[in-house]
Subunit: 309 residues, 2 copies
Amino acid sequence: MTLPAATPAEAKLMDALLEAKLLVPSGVPGVFGRGAVFEDVIERFDAFITNSASPDGAERFRFPPVLNRSDFERSEFLKSFPQLAGTVFSFAGTHQEHMAMLDAIHAGQPWAEHQKMTDVVLAPAACYPLYPMAAASTLPDAGRLFDVFSYCFRHEPSPDPARMQIFRMREFVRICRPDDAVPWRDLWLERGLKMLRAVGLPVESDVANDPFFGRGGRMLAVSQRDQKLKFEVLMPIAADNPTAVMSFNYHQDHFGGIFGIKTADGATAHTACVGFGMERIALGLFKTHGLEPKTWPSSVRAILWPHQP
Amino acid sequence: MTLPAATPAEAKLMDALLEAKLLVPSGVPGVFGRGAVFEDVIERFDAFITNSASPDGAERFRFPPVLNRSDFERSEFLKSFPQLAGTVFSFAGTHQEHMAMLDAIHAGQPWAEHQKMTDVVLAPAACYPLYPMAAASTLPDAGRLFDVFSYCFRHEPSPDPARMQIFRMREFVRICRPDDAVPWRDLWLERGLKMLRAVGLPVESDVANDPFFGRGGRMLAVSQRDQKLKFEVLMPIAADNPTAVMSFNYHQDHFGGIFGIKTADGATAHTACVGFGMERIALGLFKTHGLEPKTWPSSVRAILWPHQP
């Protein structure tokens, strides 16, 4: 895969982040370690989300970065975004096959043939494990609301520091009657803008579409925009166009239908989700307020570090 | 892969954990979501580690669950533990190939042939990204000490709730002169036992070996034990034998030699690491004190929840 060259703005931000040891390069585009200061910002913004959302009383679950492959196959993610998904393979051979694999590695030859597909894939979004879980019982009358967080993988190597292959997503997910989904999503659109502006980020919302793959992709994207199924909150980070730091998706009956999630009156449940891109928000904060959080505006510090402003 | 049947003790603990919604099943052995109470215990024990280790002044870095594949190939993990490693594959084909992949999936046929190996693998331990990073500069005279934490993947599906395929590891890693590694590891062996006993866990330490693969594996294991390169701290959880909840490894010049890490006087650095198995420690706490942390002994609560004992 040929990587596009970094734009001057991307290169400049990347250099500054590496120099300040906020990010640590791995040698693979979009895969970084993080220094303590970067992590502290992520943790503090995560706590800010928790506080902002606490009146809602969401059910809190935390999922690991891998999913059940068979659930993932059913989700149809691979129909729309095959290029982004990561599947997990492993070795399952004999001593002889082990020797052959090592010989290939030492010779710098391909060794994929010595790996077999396992039962797990990498999570492309934090909400995926919820749908099969929610299908296990009928929804209460008011539906359900979940609070999830996980590492997500998307195979899109890029020189843009804000387009990572592996990143964290905090999500709230509503599973409910059809009429309840859009008002909930719209409430969060307003709340999300307010939260991000409170920490000084120059964000705007806009209707958006997913990066659907292949020939039919353009049509799917147009239809998604026409129906206003996806919104994003964006701000300038490093790329030429503003970068999405939050997204708001109304899936209609997509997941409810596939996984058989039923409302209290027996209809197929609708679902919607709201996601915070944790690394992108941290990068947005560093880009806007500078690389040293101790010097950030006191109004921002009062929100993120309420006990030591 | 045929999974061994759960022992009665494993089945009993698993049922209790699922019933209490501490763990959420994914349908894949060893892959679980976690409820809020389970996560709180992990976070509180993590904070206890931070407090206990803070006098050491370790450099804190956090790494994602995937690593640079080329660094991983050099590490020789695949020589010793090919069966445990997870590699990440993705789709990189045309519209036609996409259609063929979807057809295979819908027909319930294998679809591995439509996936290509990417540049990343899953991390098998939290310390792996450190060694290439530390090689980028000569060590200071006193060596370096790192504090890392990450999700780790090991392909060993099991009915034992304490043997997860994806789990979190907090590690401290010492990179230093040969003479400095073992005393540091031994100090942590003592400190680790003390910490775990302070929260009421019936732990003991023992010399140990890694699960080396294949014909030569037994010999490597014997040699590792003879040289006392690996210790574990163990306690009864669900399996017939005690389960390791911490491990202490002296790698000699293995990583220093492979990655070219040099001490201040130009010699190959030695490395040692100490790892806390976060899920296992949480399971050990639930097993020992019961499934409801509010009822745990006040001495344990005072350590884990110092602000709300």
